[in-house]
Each structure stands twice: as C-alpha cells, then as structure tokens.
Subunit: 167 residues, 2 copies
C-alpha cells in the first residue's frame, strides 16, 4: 500500500533516535575571539570508525518530483554522515529505525538546521526543496580498498511506498 | 610600523600554502542519488591527530571595527580547522606562514567558499563582515586533559600592526 507520511518539525528531541541536530539555539555556547564570536561547541562528533577520517564534501542537491515518493533507504555502516545547509533554505530529512515503509519518519529542517545521522541509521538520500541547494557534508573517508563497504541500500517492494505530505 | 594589507581574492592556488578552499567549482565531482545530487568529494580531510576526533561546531561571527586591525595570530598545533559559511555572505581570511606582521596575507572569501586551515598554520580569528554570520567549523576535539594544548597565540609588538585595506 501507499502511505502518506506527515512532516514533523525537526527538533533535537524528536531526532535523538537518529543522530544530532546541528543548530545554534542551544544553551551550551560561549564567547571566544575577544567576544566577537560565539561558539556553539561540538554539536556533533564525526564517527569515522577504525581507519577512517572525516572528509568535508559539498553535496549540491536538487528537488525530487512532488509528491516525494520514498521507495528506498540507505545507511552507512562504517560512519556517521552530517549535512549542513550552506544557504538558509528549508529542506527535508527522512530517517527510519528499520528499513520499512511503516518505520519512516519525515522532518522539515529549517535553513539554519543541519543534522548528523548516526552510523548505521537508515535514511533517504538528500531531499532538497530549492532548485539548487548546497550542503557541507562530513562523512567517513576510508581506505580505497574498502570504501564501498560503507553503503547499504534497501528498496521497498513495488507498491509499498511512502509519499511525503506537501510541505 | 603600521602596514596596510591588500585584500586578495580567495583561490585554491593562492591559499595552497595554508590549506584547502572548500568550494563547488572544481572539476572533480560526480552525480549520486539517482542523479539528483552532485557530490564535490573530499574537498578537505580533517586532520585530528592521534587521539583526536572531528567535532562539528557553529561559530557565530560578528564584525571587527573597521579598519580591521590585525594585532595577533593564533594556531592549532594538533589539528586542522575548517570554516564553512552557513549563509552566503562574503568574509575575510588572514593567514601567515610565520607569526609576523610582514608575513600576513588577507583573502576575501565569497559566500560560497569555505576553507580548511592546515594544522599549525598561523591565522587570525574569524573575520565576519555581516552583523551576524554563522559558520560550520570542523576541528579537533581532544581528550579533556589536553585540549588546551591545541591553541598558541602570538601578539605583535605594540605599534607593529597590520590594517586591512577596505573591502
């Protein structure tokens, strides 16, 4: 069957089973640089596993056709993956505690909210809402001989899909 | 004496002695996510040294008084430090191959350009140009007992300073 998934606001509490929200509104911050910079410190720690390093990449996202059809999920068993908007546009996040249509949850991220998806957490590929939206991505770069081991995909059975409610 | 430092455009070539420019205009990119995302891959690799991990923080920068007076530099001997704008505003970078006024170089970064400062490279604290400008920062989080070892500061002698030319 086809389900329609409601869109939840992205909050640190709601996202906690899946990872961290990277945003500047938390109480744990302090001034540095002679008071000219406020540091919101260590909102996430990259988890790159043994033999991995944290790579900084840019993902240039484009929108999926509306209504967005969630037909597959992926996960990275060897490391975390963070997405932080480089322009202040809202975007969508779909994650799941197990790779099944009925487990999917969808969050609307504000343009000043990034996320770090914890190692091994199922998620949909990047869901931009603007024609072009750049994100800084921090994820694991491993030795060339095993980098392919850091991606698993799960495709839902035909007809058993999820449609996202309109934003 | 007081020197006035010209402002150079930020390019990967000019910045190479100091680290990497994190930007999406390089040839080495490829499509992922069924063609809906272009990945500009591994533009920088965080260098966190032994016992360190890559932490993701937000730095909320505010401007320095104009003309900007460069009176000190700092460096992080244990790891790299990356700055990536979360809003598309231009900003300034000051770096130096040694901690001396005559070694300083100033770069104007576009709003779609981040940088990673290599481990041990002298630099000025964040120089925002807008009233509020948020950056994602990726730098080393070490064990609590030695995190203070990752900062060295060098203050120039009084009167031997650098003023930035107007942007």
């Amino acid at each position: 069957m086809t389900r329609t998934l409601p869109i939840e606001p992205l909050t640190a509490e709601a996202f906690a089973p899946f990872g961290q929200v990277i945003e500047a509104d938390q109480a744990r911050s302090f001034l540095i640089n002679a008071g000219r910079t406020r540091r919101f410190d260590a909102l996430a720690i990259a988890d790159c596993g043994a033999g991995g390093a944290a790579a900084l990449s840019i993902f240039r996202g484009t929108p999926w056709p509306v209504p967005v059809r969630i037909a597959m999920l992926e996960r990275h068993p060897l490391g975390s993956q963070a997405f932080v908007p480089m322009q202040r546009h809202a975007w969508l996040v779909v994650v799941a505690e197990r790779p099944a249509p009925q487990a999917c949850r969808a969050f609307l991220a504000r343009g000043d909210q990034g996320i770090q998806i914890a190692r091994g957490v199922w998620h949909h590929p990047l869901l931009a809402l603007q024609p072009v939206h750049d994100f800084l991505v921090v994820d694991r770069k491993g030795p060339a001989d095993n980098s392919g081991d850091n991606l698993e995909e799960h495709h839902f059975p035909a007809g058993d899909e999820v449609l996202l409610a309109p934003v």
